[in-house]
């Protein structure tokens, strides 16, 4: 493989060139002299772990932040962006990793927020709606322009975010994790749109944790590690292993199912569980589903967006009521118990959205870690600080959270470490069954591997683990058994020796979704 990293000089087709960009926050250097080129009509993908500096670089290129030193040349002329509006006026727009939509407004109003189209009598709503419909048709998404964003699935919200960026005619479009909530079909559509755009001469900068996916669409690969560019190459010359090697500096895989022990008794038993759609339609999001999980077993639930994975896990954990059927923990019916009672009996959930459901942002790392097990360090009426401290310190060591200490603000941690805090919080309750909804969402490969290693260790000690994912590669890591969900039902069950193709076929990804 001739993939030796080489720095090519700024060619004539370079639209934007960043030279020697340095960005420091206090004493921390996020970027240490980065050279980055964007080529006309091509897709350049930036690979790197969390904290490598990808988002910082994109924020500088899109005018959100100004570099500490270094220069940016647009079409060969030096420029300095004073704001995002300035950058947008020069043809650079960005789709942020975190959605920046107003949930209380309609899709149409979100897409034209801040640059409403004016007619003779105020805003030209009809024209806005027409353009919105065209954008949605382009993205093959059946969303009415008047739907409120809060009524959309996360994936659809991301589509709206993308549509908003597309609605501005940009020369450079930066996409920071645009597919994190999209189903495989939606990703396909997005890729088609990207190809259309590049054919029209638009340059794309793409950032994704889905390496394989990014490799499909990109023309150039640039790898960033610790604020420095470690490798660049044409996409046709490289493979997945090259990227991962340059990102983490070592070979790596997501592990294999833990072996060498026998599974225990059935720990969790889901019997004919049905869950009604929360939006009030009489559709069942989970339809008479049954599943047994034994102590020590790791079960992976794979499925597309809307397959009912999240609803199933939230229902088992007690957040959603069952419409039919029952849930048994070690033989006892727990369907009517509260979340707190289920936790004390040993059933815990690590939710999908750690910012919204997992962490209390106003509290420290330590108090977040101890939140679910306060009962274990209460003496009489009062909290025992020494026992809490030892619990927190033990937990930080146990799940290997990289933090300045238990008193550090939770916001000071990287995404992967925040996720470890959420998992650690639940592990301190000594659970028998742990449910994890997309535990790898938005965390880097290194942290992902650590999380899975942790789960494998715990399973070997008798924890029953059920985790959901929308990345096929993750099913093939530590899971003993892979359940594929499709429209609220189990469509297939595989052992650890399954292939990616089999899983994807069972989930319905091979065929175009009809609904």
């Amino acid at each position: 493989m001739n993939a030796a990293p080489q720095f090519e000089p700024a060619a004539a087709d370079t639209v934007l060139a960043a030279r020697n960009i340095v960005k420091s926050y206090g004493g921390t250097h996020a970027l240490k002299g980065v050279n980055f080129d964007i080529r006309r009509g091509e897709v350049t993908t930036l690979f790197g772990e969390n904290g490598a500096g990808k988002s910082t670089l994109m924020k500088i290129l899109s005018g959100v932040e100004t570099p500490t030193s270094g220069s940016i040349e647009l079409d060969g002329h030096p420029v300095a962006f004073s704001s995002t509006v300035d950058a947008r006026n020069r043809g650079i727009s960005i789709i942020h990793q975190e959605l920046s939509l107003a949930p209380n407004l309609s899709v149409r109003d979100n897409i034209f927020m801040g640059r409403e189209l004016h007619g003779r009598t105020g805003i030209d709503f009809a024209e806005e709606a027409r353009q919105t419909r065209m954008l949605m048709a382009d993205l093959e998404e059946d969303i009415d322009p008047m739907t409120l964003v809060q009524d959309l699935r996360l994936g659809q919200q991301q589509i709206v975010e993308i549509a908003r960026a597309l609605s501005v005619d940009s020369r450079i479009l930066i996409m920071d994790e645009p597919t994190s909530a999209l189903s495989a079909t939606e990703v396909e559509v997005l890729f088609r749109v990207i190809r259309d755009l590049t054919a029209r001469g638009v340059s794309i900068v793409y950032i994704s944790h889905h390496l394989e996916e990014a490799l499909q669409i990109t023309d150039h690969a640039v790898v960033l590690r610790d604020g420095t560019i470690t490798a660049t190459a044409k996409a046709k010359n490289i493979d997945l292993e090259w990227i991962v090697r340059n990102m983490v500096g070592e070979n790596f895989d997501l592990g294999s199912p833990p072996t060498g022990y026998a599974f225990g008794e059935v720990a969790l038993s889901i019997e004919d569980v049905s869950i009604a759609d929360s939006s009030g339609s009489d559709r069942l999001v989970v339809d008479r589903l049954s599943l047994d999980v034994r102590a020590g077993e790791i079960v992976c639930i794979y499925g597309l967006m809307g397959a009912g994975r999240t609803e199933l896990l939230e229902c088992v954990a007690g957040r959603l009521p069952v419409t039919g059927g029952r849930v048994l923990l070690e033989g006892d019916d727990i369907s009517r118990l509260s979340i707190a009672e289920r936790i004390s009996r040993g059933l815990v959930l690590v939710p999908e959205d750690r910012q919204r459901d997992g962490l209390v942002q106003t509290m420290s790392v330590g108090t977040n870690l101890s939140l679910a097990s306060i009962g274990s360090f209460v003496t009489g009426m009062f909290l025992s600080r020494s026992r809490e401290r030892s619990l927190i310190e033990g937990s930080i060591r146990d799940v290997r959270v990289k933090t300045a200490g238990g008193g550090a603000p939770i916001g000071s941690l990287s995404g992967g470490n925040q996720q470890k805090v959420v998992i650690g919080k639940m592990l301190t309750t000594n659970p028998k069954v742990m449910l994890l909804d997309e535990p790898s969402r938005g965390i880097d490969v290194g942290a992902k591997a650590e999380v899975f290693r942790l789960l494998a260790e715990r399973a070997a000690r008798g924890l029953a683990v059920v985790f959901s994912t929308s990345e096929v590669a993750e099913c093939l890591g530590i899971a003993h058994r892979i359940i594929v969900m499709r429209r609220g039902r189990i469509s297939a069950v595989f052992g650890a020796d399954v292939t990616k193709e089999q899983i994807m076929a069972a989930s319905g990804e091979a065929v175009v979704a009809s609904s």
């Binding site: 420091s24 926050y25 206090g26 004493g27 921390t28 996020a30 790197g48 772990e49 969390n50 904290g51 490598a52 500096g53 990808k54 988002s55 910082t56 924020k59 500490t68 975190e98 950032i207 960033l224 957040r319 979340i339 707190a340 936790i343 004390s344 959930l349 939710p351 919204r356 459901d357 997992g358 962490l359 209390v360 942002q361 106003t362 509290m363 420290s364 330590g366 108090t367 939140l371 679910a372 306060i374 009962g375 209460v378 009426m381 009062f382 909290l383 600080r385 300045a404 200490g405 238990g406 008193g407 550090a408 603000p409 939770i410 916001g411 000071s412 941690l413 990287s414 925040q418 639940m426």
Partner: protein, 378 residues
């Protein structure tokens, strides 16, 4: 209270072990600084201001608001608001007055004169009941806190007016032969020279502080105020916490009502009108976030003293009541404005200099800038 300040996670990076830095001191000290400025300025303007006697008098005025504000803080930490405390205060006084006059039981043909301690207990139960109604409306029936407590503001005030027909109970002294004397003790007596009201406020503040920092309930309160969904998934009984918080606020309002009517030796149905707003202002000046999860008792008390010492000072130097209102309002806005300005600066202006934080500003910046980069980058 180091625990509380850690909970609020406002402290700089060097303060994780409960020590303190200049940044934290300035941030928490702002309200305290304002209090010192108020004392210095009024001491210069009036010879009567700076004296122990005057401070104790002012403190007993502060006590009413301080007690209300401690209850309000609990509600605000939970992410709610309690607009009904002023009315609860008024109704509590009226009920106390009513009980002191004797309760006629017509079927038995007797008049009961409950002793003062029974009156106190019954009135506190009334406050808890109002809080219970608020809490159930908000936690279980999902009425927004603002609306539920606004409704109760009217209902409770109306009840007080109905009970008295708009009149005032003037005779709260009780009679020795009936064994119900001593109500004036709350408002008039002093222990070691300190008015009872001030002592009651101190006791309530200490209890509140212990609840917030040393009990599971306090931790639940901070957690469910910071992120209710996360707290619930961690097994925190968020609904019970919510109801309890409003009940505690109601009890605080009742205690304040007892002290006020004892001080005034009368119980009028309009007592405590708009006091809820003063209590909210004290909490806000004390640095608590109206979005919940952040704040502590110490700040809230300082906030109550800022408001009390300012308005009494204005009275002493003879500023008209209308101007007092204007000044008080301006101080509230200024306090919140300063919070906003400081917070914004810490986020927006990362300093390029290296090394450990040498100034509070820089320490704060480094902390806020880093997570932004670490979390979003990549």
């Amino acid at each position: 209270m180091t625990d509380a300040s850690q909970n609020r996670s406002r402290s700089g990076p060097k303060t994780s072990s409960g020590g303190f830095s200049l940044a934290k001191l300035l941030l928490e000290g702002r309200a305290f600084l304002a209090l010192i400025v108020i004392i210095v300025v009024f001491s210069m303007l009036s010879p009567y201001y700076f004296s122990l006697g005057n401070f104790l008098t002012m403190a007993s005025h502060v006590a009413i608001f301080g007690i209300l504000a401690v209850g309000m803080l609990l509600v605000i930490l939970n992410g709610g608001i309690d607009l009904s405390v002023g009315s609860t205060l008024g109704l509590s006084g009226v009920i106390a007055g009513f009980l002191m006059q004797g309760v006629q039981l017509q079927t038995l043909g007797v008049v009961l004169f409950p002793p003062v301690w029974v009156v106190v207990v019954l009135v506190c139960m009334l406050g808890a009941l109002v809080g219970l109604v608020n809490g159930v409306l908000i936690a279980w029936l999902k009425v927004p806190a603002f609306v539920a407590t606004l409704g109760m503001l009217y209902v409770v005030r109306g009840a007080a007016l109905l009970m008295t027909n708009g009149l005032t109970y003037n005779d709260l002294g009780g009679k020795p032969e009936l064994g119900n004397t001593g109500f004036d003790w709350l408002g008039f007596n002093r222990l070691f020279g300190v008015p009872i009201g001030v002592l009651v406020m101190a006791v309530i503040a200490i209890i509140g502080s212990i609840i917030l920092n040393r009990t599971a309930f306090g931790r639940w309160l901070y957690a469910s105020g910071g992120n209710e969904r996360a707290a619930e998934l961690s097994g925190v009984p968020v609904k019970k916490v919510q109801v309890a918080v409003y009940m505690l606020s109601g009890i605080c309002a009742s205690v304040a009502g007892l002290i006020l009517s004892s001080e005034l030796t009368s119980a009028g149905p309009t007592a405590g009108n708009s006091y809820e707003l003063t209590a909210i202002a004290a909490v806000v000046i004390g640095g608590a976030a109206l979005t919940g999860g952040r704040g502590n008792i110490r700040g809230t008390l300082v906030g109550a003293f800022v408001i009390g010492f300012l308005s009494d000072g204005l009275v002493i130097i003879g500023v008209s009541a209308y101007w007092q209102t204007v000044f008080t309002g301006a101080v509230i806005v200024l306090a919140v404005l300063l919070n906003a300005i400081q917070y914004r600066r810490r986020v927006r202006l990362p300093s390029p200099t290296d090394g450990p934080s040498t100034s509070p500003q820089q320490g704060g910046k480094a902390r806020t800038a880093d997570p932004a980069h670490e979390k979003i980058a990549g």
